[in-house]
């Protein structure tokens, strides 16, 4: 990928795996967890693998996927929440990492797919292409567990460890700057929103009935 704005900055190492491969590798773990993605390639790619009613795609409001995850995690402490974020998105809400760390919900795993670019608008480099380190920022913000995964194996291991750890974790997956052929999918935004709410309410009702 051309790096015309590098100047004296640090060149990142070339990525060795794709976001789609990472999602495919952990897809089975998502079955009974509450999943929120940000817009763009991650939303389209997760849908291409297979949409489920426990998946919500925040198709705008960049930066707020992690905030939504926090709201859900605080509201449903008995459930595990996974947020699939992007570098462009989290860079718009770095302050949100401090809020995440302040409340450190044990049931939240925050994955940032860092392809060092804003892909869907044409592949423009973000600041992670010139040395900004999101995992480092998250750790310094106070997020108790952080990791950077540079291979598919590192990612799946870090993801499984995060699910088992029961602590707020931010995992940065350094993925290739590739994405789907289309970003608009067949699932309407509002259909997803209402179906997701129904899913969350039905599982809450089921739990209340058991107790």
């Amino acid at each position: 990928m051309p790096r015309s704005d590098v100047g004296g900055g640090i060149l990142s190492a070339a990525a060795t795996f794709r976001r789609l491969d990472a999602l495919q590798a952990v897809y089975a773990r998502l079955e009974n967890r509450i999943v929120v993605t940000i817009m763009g390639a991650v939303a389209a790619e997760l849908q291409s693998i297979g949409h489920r009613p426990n998946f919500f795609y925040l198709q705008h409001a960049m930066g707020l996927a992690s905030s939504m995850g926090l709201g859900i995690a605080l509201s449903r402490p008995e459930r595990q929440v996974v947020v699939f974020d992007g570098d462009g998105s989290i860079l718009m809400n770095l302050g949100g990492l401090t809020t995440l760390a302040r409340y450190r919900p044990r049931n939240l795993v925050h994955v940032v797919f860092d392809n060092e670019s804003l892909l869907s608008v044409g592949g423009f480099p973000t600041a992670t292409a010139t040395g900004s380190d999101i995992a480092g920022i998250a750790a310094a913000a106070g997020v108790p567990r952080t990791a950077t995964a540079r291979t598919l194996d590192e990612f799946t291991r870090a993801f499984d460890e995060a699910l088992a750890a029961g602590q707020l974790t931010t995992i940065v997956a350094k993925v290739e700057a590739v994405g789907p052929s289309a970003y608009v999918t067949g699932l309407s935004l509002l259909e997803n929103r209402f179906e997701f709410q129904k899913y969350l309410n039905s599982t809450r009702a089921a739990r209340a009935a058991e107790s």
């Binding site: 705008h60 707020l64 509201s75 935004l189 809450r204």
Partner: protein, 172 residues
Amino acid sequence: MPVSTANSRLIYDALKACGVRLVSALPETWLVHLMRMAEDDPEMILVRLAKEEEGVGISAGAHLAGVQSAMLMQNHGFLASINGIVSCAQLYRIPLLMLISYRGEFGERDPWQTEGGGVTEDLLRALRIPFSYLDNPDHVARRIAKGQTLAASSNKPVALLLCRDLMWEEAF
């Protein structure tokens, strides 16, 4: 510092009566008693933010997960939240309940607040967000309840402007 504790209590009790169990907030002078009440209440989750816009995402998540929430912010915090309000709350039909302290209006002494007052209502109208004023203790509980009712039935954001006459105890 003459922020009205009594009227803050009226507002807080009205939020509880509406079923609000999570409040996201960024402190400003007029909100300090409200935030303390939320902090002291074991039945309320208070989320202190770095930037008010985060509260839109938090409320959206809470709402879909079945927990009613409210945002406490200054009108400049509302300005800082606009993209989240439009492209998360409005796009996804989230019934956001926003309590906005109305700074920069008649009686404002702080020069840095004075631009925000003039644009607050125009922005709410431009975004078609229904709003009402809380400027007298007599209507606080009723207007908060009615705001919550409208938010719930429309699945859209609603705002209540906390006015100087209600929040500030000086003579003028």
